[in-house]
């Protein structure tokens, strides 16, 4: 009897996990999900949130965790991605310009429109924030999945340059809020970078100076 209880104890969590497993959305479901995500994204003018980034390093059998703040303004497609711990690094995307400043105070400006690779990375970052434009991307193909109260959009790179960087990028959405909660970037080597967004405040006031050249 004791053995039976033990077996049940082990099996029940497995069964519930199975019930929460990934299900590939069919064409109609995908369309409906993407429409809802786009509708929610259209209503978002600004986002101010914190994020945690965990990078797995299989070669070292280790993880690297960093934290920071993210600001987004839909007007002009502006984004500020700022790492605050354990290192300082700021990335600002403002129109076709990307500004970067490292902790050692070095600054760099890149014209995004002149680099196909940078355009791809900028697109991943902007998509990762709102989920908007999942089906219109020329750089990624998108497949939707459902998993319990979560939706997932698996973006697979189409272009050679992006394929070298990522195997896929998975955006996790809350099915109730239709907003991105987590981004998982998987490299060809199998190493992953997981970015979790938290303390998300939408449509609050964001200082425009935060997107100025660094």
């Amino acid at each position: 009897m004791k053995r039976l209880i033990w077996i049940l104890c082990f099996c029940l969590p497995l069964l519930s996990a199975g019930a929460q497993g990934l299900k590939r959305a069919d064409a109609a479901q995908s369309k409906a999900m993407i429409e809802r995500i786009n509708k929610t994204a259209s209503g978002i003018h600004s986002i101010d949130c914190r994020f945690t980034q965990v990078k797995t390093l299989r070669f070292l059998d280790d993880e690297m965790t960093s934290e920071g703040r993210m600001l987004f303004m839909a007007d002009g497609g502006r984004l500020r991605w700022e790492y605050q711990r354990p290192y300082n690094y700021t990335f600002v995307l403002n129109g076709d310009k990307a500004y970067m400043r490292s902790g050692q105070g070095r600054q760099q400006t890149v014209n995004v429109s002149q680099s196909r690779l940078f355009q791809g990375i900028a697109e991943v970052m902007m998509n990762s924030v709102t989920g908007k434009g999942l089906t219109t991307s020329s750089d990624f193909s998108c497949q939707m999945y459902t998993s319990g109260d979560e939706w997932q959009a698996v973006l697979t790179p189409k272009r050679k340059e992006m394929k070298k960087l990522f195997k896929d990028v998975t955006l996790h959405f809350s099915s109730t809020k239709q907003m991105v909660t987590k981004v998982v970037m998987t490299e060809q080597s199998g190493d992953t970078t997981v970015i979790t967004l938290k303390d998300v405040k939408t449509n609050g006031r964001v200082d425009e100076k935060m997107f100025a050249a660094l």
Partner: protein
């Protein structure tokens, strides 16, 4: 003649045996980049004006050191191993854009000099190593116009 050949081969066997038995333990002395347990460095590589920044994570045990360089967003650049005596660097999983034999050769040599240096100054092949007041170790490779800066990241903030 036969005796001479015998002596030579005996001598070679002894020399080979001794060198094979040489322990691969760390060379005594203070390195500019001390390694123990797990450490993180902020890294900047300036290659002919183009700058790459990121984080170098190194883990050390009795067998040697394993390291990885990733950019701040987590995109992986390369992995490497460093022998316990810091004389050998082996590159692993180099990102496709950098995976060229001539780039690997320069990187391997520069990493070996960075981690193996015990004092600032002029090194062989036109390379110079300096340590700034804030502890940043800089290797300048004049021949290929490459600068490497490594600064230790504390647990809390940079």
């Amino acid at each position: 003649m036969r005796r001479c050949l015998l002596l030579c081969s005996l001598l070679l066997m002894v020399v080979a045996g001794v060198s094979a038995m040489e322990p691969q333990t760390a060379v005594s002395g203070d390195y500019l980049l001390p390694l123990s347990g797990r450490q993180q460095y902020s890294v900047t590589i300036d290659a002919r004006g183009a700058e790459i920044t990121g984080v170098c994570i190194v883990k050390t045990n009795d067998e040697g050191t394993r390291g990885a360089i990733v950019n701040e967003f987590g995109i992986h650049a390369l992995d490497f191993t460093l022998s316990a005596d810091r004389r050998k660097v082996r590159l692993e999983n180099v990102m496709p854009m950098m995976d060229r034999w001539y780039i690997r050769r320069i990187l391997r040599k520069d990493l070996r000099l960075l981690f193996g240096a015990t004092a600032p100054g002029l090194l062989k092949s036109g390379r110079t190593i300096t340590v700034s007041d804030d502890g940043t170790v800089v290797l300048k490779n004049a021949r290929y116009k490459l600068n490497y800066s490594l600064k230790k990241i504390n647990d809390t903030t940079e």
